[in-house]
Each structure stands twice: as structure tokens, then as C-alpha cells.
């Protein structure tokens, strides 16, 4: 069974038309490959060690400060000393939440650096691509079905038209033949 499937997959002939039952098997096997949203690897927070970090708060900048100007930005800049990775974050207004978020981003980057294949970022990215593909596949399938239905309807309609034309023709021939009969009687 599996052997047939893999064979069917490796070759590029239209499986669906040859083995319509195989479609369902393919579909389920593709969906199994996409990890569930709640089964993704956890955020690698354990990679963050506070003693390896240099944290800076970038505020203000050039020009007058203090009461003269009112700046609402609070940027957090984290430098990971062993690797030299630099991460900044000013996603929200609160410094505390920016600090947390910067650490999360840095942890993901470190994860990427240490395990490029199995890192959370890689798996999340992979999942995104797979989801997109399966979505496109589903859409294709859906429109294929619709197209087929349309085609079928079209051919049916054509057939009906043909039939209608046939009836008229028949009627014409009938009329012609009828007149012939009348003529014959008149004789």
C-alpha cells in the first residue's frame, strides 16, 4: 500500500484520475506534516543569562530635553556580550514590556544561531510556508471542482441546445412531409 503511494508520488502522472481514492490519503499525510500551533517548540527563554547582557535605554537624543520637550519613546537596546548580537525594541510605551520583548527577540536569535535547523524561528517559518502551500492546494482543488462542474453544465447545456435544434429540424421536416402529403391528397 505505502509502496504504491510513494511510487505514485514520485512519478508525476495524474494520480487523482488514475486512483481517485488516493487523494484522501495524500491530503491527510500532508496535514500531518504541519505542526499544530500549540505543539511548536517553546520560546527559548533559558538562553538568556542576565550576566551576559548589556542593557541600555535609548531616550531623548540630541537637542533640548527635560521640561522643554516631551518625548514618549523608550527604546531598549540589548547587547549579548558573548556573541555581539544587538537587539532593540520599542514596541510598546512601557519600558518594562519592551525589556521583556527585547529578551524574547534576543532568545529567538540566539536559538537560530545555535540550532539553525531545529530553532523555534525555523520551525515557525517552516510551518508558515507549509500552511500557505496547503491553503493554495486546497484553493486549487476547490476551483478545479468548480471548473469541472461548470464544464459539465456547459456540455449539458450544449447537448440540450442540440436537442432543441433537432426538434426544430424534425418539425421542419415534418411540416415539409405534411405538405407533401396534402399535395398528394389534392392530386
Amino acid at each position: 500500500m505505502l509502496g504504491i503511494l510513494s511510487l505514485a508520488r514520485s512519478q508525476c502522472f495524474p494520480v487523482k484520475t488514475a486512483m481517485p481514492w488516493a487523494r484522501f490519503l495524500f491530503q491527510s499525510s500532508v496535514q500531518m506534516a504541519i505542526p499544530k500551533r500549540n505543539k511548536l517548540p517553546p520560546r527559548p527563554k533559558w538562553l538568556i543569562k542576565e550576566e551576559e547582557l548589556d542593557e541600555k535605554f535609548l531616550k531623548g537624543g540630541r537637542g533640548p530635553g527635560g521640561q522643554k520637550i516631551n518625548k514618549s519613546n523608550s527604546k531598549v537596546q540589548l547587547t549579548h556580550l558573548p556573541t555581539g548580537l544587538v537587539v532593540t525594541c520599542q514596541y510598546s510605551r512601557s519600558q518594562e514590556s519592551n525589556r521583556q520583548r527585547a529578551r524574547e527577540i534576543l532568545a529567538l536569535k540566539l536559538d537560530d544561531l545555535q540550532n539553525p535547523e531545529t530553532s523555534r524561528n525555523a520551525i515557525v517559518g517552516d510551518r508558515k510556508i507549509k500552511l500557505k502551500q496547503s491553503k493554495a492546494k486546497k484553493a486549487n482543488r476547490k476551483y478545479k471542482v468548480i471548473d469541472e462542474a461548470r464544464k459539465e453544465a456547459q456540455t449539458e447545456k450544449d447537448g440540450e441546445l442540440e436537442e432543441i435544434v433537432d426538434i426544430e429540424d424534425e418539425f421542419d421536416t415534418f411540416l415539409k412531409s405534411a405538405t407533401v402529403n396534402i399535395d398528394k391528397k389534392a392530386d
Binding site: P64, I69, S72, S94
Partner: protein
């Protein structure tokens, strides 16, 4: 101020129809996008349009969003009261970190003048009592009615979350009043006087940012009562509070070196005082710090970047 280029406006409108208006207050696309994100994060959708409109008239974002983060606290902000600045947050943290080393044995009596939203006493109490367990007693006051009400509101919000709220008292009083100490009900001894008094001289208040002046948004929307001031505030802080309450230390926010020199000159005859200045994160002079030699407030030297003689 240069006008916003059409190409920039076009780029903005491609991203969101709300963005172009924010360019008036922000000037760069990045900053405008950030503010839009904050507006969208903190306000319900039906208020976005109005918020952007208000911001395009240069109203401070904190008045629109009604709050400003101050350390871990969220301070309520309202028109009529000065918005807490990041520089104030920075030096308040420095002071709290220094005072945290004093230990839990002795209660710290702190007076905060010109408190505004009440951000300094709230953060100090949070850092010292909530984090370190150091007992504190803080009296904060402001002359403005609106500031008094808002500070009381902030204290009320704070007391709902933290138990240390009861160690803060907010009063309405005038720094220049004859019986200030009596009005405040401060006990004879205080350990620390903090203040962020108005310190912008009038000529800088009316000039533009490019001439080392005040930004338009601040001038139009924030109370001039909390902004325009000269040496008289530092004189009053010393004569009306520091000396009568026999305070062991003080820290005042300022904007100019001459203000620090004024404080030093005022205390020059008093042998027991040491004066220093402290810089902000952008490298500008931001505070004048004083402590009595031999007292535990000598720890304030940590806050200083330079000790004056």
C-alpha cells in the same frame, strides 16, 4: 520647520490612512508608525480617528492616551498638569537605588515639592517600600488645583494595587507661602527633599526648539505654571523646605548649569553641605544634589557625576 514632502505623505498613506496626520507631530515615518501602533494598542478602534486628529494638532500623546509609563507605574495624565519626563524617571531611579543601600532599620522622611502628577513620590515609594521594604513617609504638594486633584487620583490608583499608598500624603500648598512647613504638617526632621520645579526661563520658553527653546506641543498644551521658572524656585526650596525641616539631603531637577551654581552659592556659607550635579542619559546637566556631611544622605554622592566645591 520644513514641510512634509509629498513623497513622504504618499508613503504614509500607502501604509495606513491614519498615518499622514501623525506626520505633523512626528516628522519621520518610523516615529509616526510607532505612535499609530501605540494608539491602536491602547485605544478602542472608534477613537483612533479622533486621537490622530488631536495628535495632528500637536497635542501630547500622553494626554490622548491619558497615561505615561513611569518605571513600572502607569501615571494618569491630564491636560493642565505637566507630563512626567523620562529624565525625571531616570534620576528618581538613581536616587531610589542609592537610598536602597541604607537598609530597612530607619524610616525615610521625604518631602516632594511641585509634585505635579505625583510621579516622583509614587516611584520612590514603590522602589523603596515595595521592592526593598524600607519604611517611608512621603509628603508631596503642589500649588495647582488640577495637579493636586490628579496627584490624589494617581495615589488612589496606586493604593488600590500597593499597600504602601498610605505612606504618601498629597497636599495643596504654595512653595512661597509663609507657613509652608506648618501647612504641610511635616515633622521637624526630614531626610530628603525632592523636586522638579519649573526651570525654563521666559526667553527660552518662547523661543523655538532649534534655538534651545521649548517645543510647540509643550508650549501649546502643557501648563506654563509648571514650566516657567528661574532661580527663585531653588532659593525657595532651600529656604522654605531644606533649611526649616533640617533636611539631610536634597535633589532638584534643573536645566541649566547656572541653576546648580546658584544652589551652591546659596549654601556656600554653610560648611556642612556638599553639592554635586548629575547628568541625564543624553549627557545634559539634569540635577543638583546636596547632602549634609556626616549624615547618611552622603550616599547621594553616588547619584552625582560631578561634585562641586
Amino acid at each position: 520647520m520644513p514641510r512634509i514632502s509629498p513623497s513622504l505623505a504618499r508613503k504614509a498613506i500607502a501604509k495606513s490612512s491614519l498615518l499622514p496626520r501623525l506626520l505633523r507631530a512626528n516628522r519621520t515615518l518610523e516615529a509616526a508608525e510607532q505612535e499609530l501602533r501605540w494608539i491602536q494598542q491602547e485605544l478602542p478602534q472608534q477613537q483612533w480617528k479622533n486621537a490622530v486628529l488631536r495628535r495632528s494638532r500637536l497635542e501630547p500623546l500622553q494626554y490622548i492616551l491619558k497615561s505615561q509609563p513611569f518605571g513600572p507605574l502607569d501615571i494618569i495624565c491630564r491636560s493642565g498638569v505637566l507630563i512626567p519626563r523620562w529624565e525625571t524617571e531616570e534620576w528618581t531611579y538613581k536616587v531610589a537605588n542609592a537610598l536602597a543601600k541604607l537598609g530597612k532599620e530607619k524610616q525615610l522622611n521625604i518631602v516632594d515639592a511641585c509634585t505635579g502628577t505625583g510621579c516622583i513620590p509614587l516611584l520612590l515609594t514603590h522602589e523603596l517600600y515595595e521592592q526593598e521594604g524600607i519604611p517611608v513617609d512621603v509628603v508631596a504638594f503642589d500649588v495647582s488645583d488640577e495637579a493636586f486633584k490628579l496627584a490624589s487620583e494617581n495615589l488612589n490608583e496606586y493604593s488600590n494595587i500597593y499597600k504602601s499608598g498610605k505612606y504618601i500624603t498629597i497636599k495643596q500648598a504654595d512653595l512661597f507661602s509663609n507657613d509652608l512647613v506648618k501647612e504641610l504638617g511635616v515633622r521637624k526632621e526630614s531626610d530628603l527633599v525632592t523636586s522638579n520645579p519649573p526651570y525654563i526661563p521666559h526667553e527660552d520658553y518662547i523661543s523655538s526648539v532649534s534655538c534651545n527653546g521649548t517645543s510647540r506641543s509643550v508650549r501649546i498644551y502643557e501648563p506654563s505654571l509648571a514650566l516657567i521658572g528661574e532661580n527663585e524656585f531653588y532659593g525657595a526650596l532651600l529656604e522654605q523646605l531644606v533649611i526649616p525641616t533640617n533636611s539631610k539631603g536634597f535633589i532638584f531637577e534643573l536645566g541649566y548649569t547656572y541653576q546648580a551654581n546658584y544652589v551652591r552659592d546659596k549654601l556656600r556659607n554653610m560648611e556642612s553641605w556638599k553639592i554635586g550635579t548629575s547628568m541625564d542619559g543624553a549627557g545634559r546637566i539634569r540635577c543638583v544634589v546636596g547632602w549634609q556631611k556626616g549624615s547618611e544622605m552622603e550616599i547621594l554622592e553616588e547619584v552625582c557625576d560631578e561634585v562641586l566645591d
